[in-house]
Amino acid sequence: MVSRQSLTPLPADKRIVRMKRKTAYLGLFTAVAIIFGYVETLLPVVVGIPGVKIGLANLVTVFVLYIYTWKEALIVSVMRILVTGFLFGNLFSILFSLTGGLLSLLIMAFLKRKEFSIIGVSIAGGVAHNIGQIIIAALVVENVKMYYYMPVLLVSGLITGGCIGVVSQELLRRLTPILGITD
């Protein structure tokens, strides 16, 4: 019993179809991530702590990380940050988002290999994102006392990451058959 894929190499036309589909999907996911990031700015701050947000855009990163690999997730994440940064933010906000986003993705890609569940990976991603931002903040403000804010951001990253993880899990289960990525 050998799986079909390993037995015969994929025909060239099928590879092309797959590549086209992937290109389209990555564009789509990037667009969705940008929209998510924008929608989130419209939502009022729920918890009353400045800087704490759900991180809806991270949902897309986690999702892409699981249907493809970390490379695709990196592309989508960086594109999303650059586009939203140039549209709504400034170079500083790009710097902040980029550090948080890259550190988050690095940790998530690492933990995914270490047999954590998607919720655990997402939690680590949320927390890493916040840690990345606080490090940059401490560097920019040149004030080490930023670590006073650490417990708040750790716990909030835990909660938001957990939420994103649960949603990603459901999305994966429901969307993967429809998207037809595996065939």
Binding site: G51, S93, Y147, V155, L158
Partner: protein
């Protein structure tokens, strides 16, 4: 959720707890100072680290003990300042209105404008 996930959550919560609790220990060595002013004019500045009993003019006495400041005696009729909560490094003021005395906490370093993050 797998077992590893729970371990991860526990580690994060512990780290958060450590970051929350450690500054509380270190805050015992703040360089905060007590600033006393009468009628808007500076009367004196005293470090919070050393316990002391300070006579403010002839009317009031305040006490620094265990990093916090409390008004202990006042000759004013209402004694509202005596009833005010003691103030410490986290900030706050005690006001004795009849004698126009204000006790407030100032950071040892000169205050700079806060940075603004968006």
């Amino acid at each position: 959720m797998k077992k590893r996930d729970y371990v991860l959550v526990a580690v994060i919560l512990c780290t958060a707890f450590v970051f929350w609790i450690v500054p509380k220990f270190f805050s015992a060595h703040t360089d905060s100072i007590l600033r006393i002013s009468i009628d808007g004019e500076l009367y004196g500045e005293y470090p919070l680290d050393t316990d002391a009993e300070i006579a403010i003019g002839t009317t009031n006495i305040c006490k620094i003990q265990d990093q916090s400041v409390k008004m202990t005696e006042a000759d004013c009729p209402d004694h509202l300042c005596l009833k005010q909560k003691s103030i410490d490094a986290s900030g706050g003021t005690i006001v004795c209105l009849p004698n126009r005395i204000v006790l407030e906490i100032a950071d040892g370093e000169q205050t700079e404008p806060d940075s603004i993050a968006r």
